[in-house]
Amino acid sequence: MINPINIGSIDDIDEGEAKVIPSDETGTGEDIAVFHAEDGNFYALNDNCTHETASLADGWIEGTEVECPIHAAKFCLKKGTALCMPATQDARTHKVEVSGNDLLLYPNVPAEPVEA
C-alpha cells in the first residue's frame, strides 16, 4: 500500500489552473502536475510533456484536456492519452483523492479508469 501525500487544500488550485509537485516530494523522480479541470475534478499527470521539455501545468486547460504551452500537444487529463501531434506518447497518470478539504496525491498509482 502506497501512502498518499497531502499536497494542500483544494482551494489552493483554482479551476482551470494547475500546481506542480516537485520531484523531491513525489518520490518518483519526476515533477507531477495536479490540475483542477473544468469539470470540477482534480487530475494528475507527469508535469513534463512527453514530446519535448515543457511544463504541462503551464498549459491551457480546456474541459478535461490540457494543451501544452509550447507545441500545442493535447492530453486527456483523465487517462493521459496523447490526443494530437506532435505528442505521440501518452502522459503518465497519478491518482488524486479529495479528502474533506485536502488533496491527496498517490504518486505512481495510476488514476482509476474512468469513462472518458
Binding site: 519535448e52 521539455t53 515543457a54 509550447i70 500545442a72 506532435p86
Partner: protein
Amino acid sequence: MSDCTSHTSEANASIGRMSRPEAFTQNIDVSTLVDSDGGLIDRSIYTETSIYAQEQRRIFARSWLFLAHTSQFKKPGDFFTTFMGEDPIIVTMDKTKTIRAYLNSCRHRGVRLCRADAGATKMFTCTYHGWSFDLAGALQSVPNEKAYPEDFDRKQWGLIEVPNVQSYKGLIFGNWDKDAQSLEENLGDMRYYMDAMLDRDPEGTEVMGGVMKWTLEGNWKLAAEQFATDWYHVNMSHASALMVLSPTGRGPKAEIAATPGRQFGSENGHGAGFPTHPKSRFDARPVHEYYDYEALRERLGDAAVEGPMTTGHATVFPNFSYLPVNGSIRVWHPKGPDKMEVWAWVLVDKSMPDEVKDAQRLYNLRTFGPSGIFEADDGENWSEIQAISHGFVTNNVPLNFQMGIGSERNDGTYPGQTSELYSDAAGRAFYRHWSKQMNTPAWHERTEQA
C-alpha cells in the same frame, strides 16, 4: 500614475553576426531633394526604391515609433503584433509586467513567430519547426535539440529585442537605437499639444475595441506630412463633409471657414495645427456635453482648451498621427514606396461613461476610419498623387511647401515655434528633419565602423 515608463535592454549588441557587403547600404545624399527653407520638395522622395530602403535604415530603424497603447496589456502574456517600418514586431507584457517588444521572426528560419493580431499566450512558438520563446524572449525549446552541435547555445538564439521601449501617457513607443534621446526629450514641446488629448482625464486614456486597418496607394509621408501641417486642404477637400455636418447644410460660416489658429513645428519633425476660434469645433454632441470645460481650463490651461484640444491634427515624427476631436490615433505603416497601411485606434478618456465612449467611437467611425466621410477624401488625394508620380516629367516637377515661409515665431502663448493655422511650416519642419536623418549615419552604421 507616472507619465512615462521605460525599458531598455542590452540584448542586441549587433543585429546579426555576419557582415554584409557595403553595396547593400549605399546611401543617397538627399540634401538637393528637400529645400526646407525655400519650401520645395522633389517628388522622387515618394517614389524611389533606393530612398525608401534608406528610410528603413535611417528613419524607421532609429526613430521613436508608436507600438501600442498601454490599455492593450493587462496581464502577463497579453500581446499585440505590429510593425516598425517594415519590421514585424511582437509587443507583450512579460512576467514582471514590463512591456517588451521583439522582432516577430523566428531565429531559426525566419517565419513570423506570431501571426495573430492580438491575444494572450505563455510562449511564442514557431509554426514551422516549433522553436519556442518565452515572454522574456528566451529560446526555451528546440525540438530534436540533441542533433545540434555541442556549442549550440540556446542563450545565443533568443528573440531580437527592441532595446528601447518607452511610453508617454499611455502611448508606447519603441526605438531600435538603445542610445536614442529619450522619448520625452524627443517629443519636447510636442508634449504640450499631445497633453490636450492625452491628459484631459486624471485617470488617463484607453483604446476601444480593435484596430481598423486598411491599405492605400500612396507613400507614407503624404499622410504623415498632411497630419502635421495641413489645415489648408480642409475647406476644399472636405467641402461636402463640412456641408453635411453644418447646421444649415450649406457649410460653416465664413468666420469659421477662415478661422484663425496656430501650427506648431518641431526641430524633431513633429507637427500640430489647430483652430483657435471658439466655435470651430465639430465634436460629437454627447462628448461635448460630457466635458466640464471649466475644469479642463484649470487642468490644461485656457490656451490648450481653446486651441489644440479642439479640431486639431498632429503627427509625431515619423509616422504616428492623431486627431484630438474624435480620438483617432493612427500609424502610417510603410509598405513599399507606393503603398501604406493605415492602422487606426479609437482613444477615449477612461472616466467617460460607457455611452459617451460609444458616442465617440461611432463619431470616429463616421468621420475617420475606412468608412469615414473625411478619411475617404484624404485617401483619395494621397492615392491620386502617388498614381501619377512615376511619370518621368511628373516626377521631375517639385512640389510647393511655401505657405507661411518666415512666419514661424514664438508667439508667447503656444510653446515652441508656431506659425499660422494655414501654413506649411510644420511640413517644412517635418521634411527638414527627415532630410537630416536621411543624411546622418544611424547607430547600426556607427557599430559597423567601430
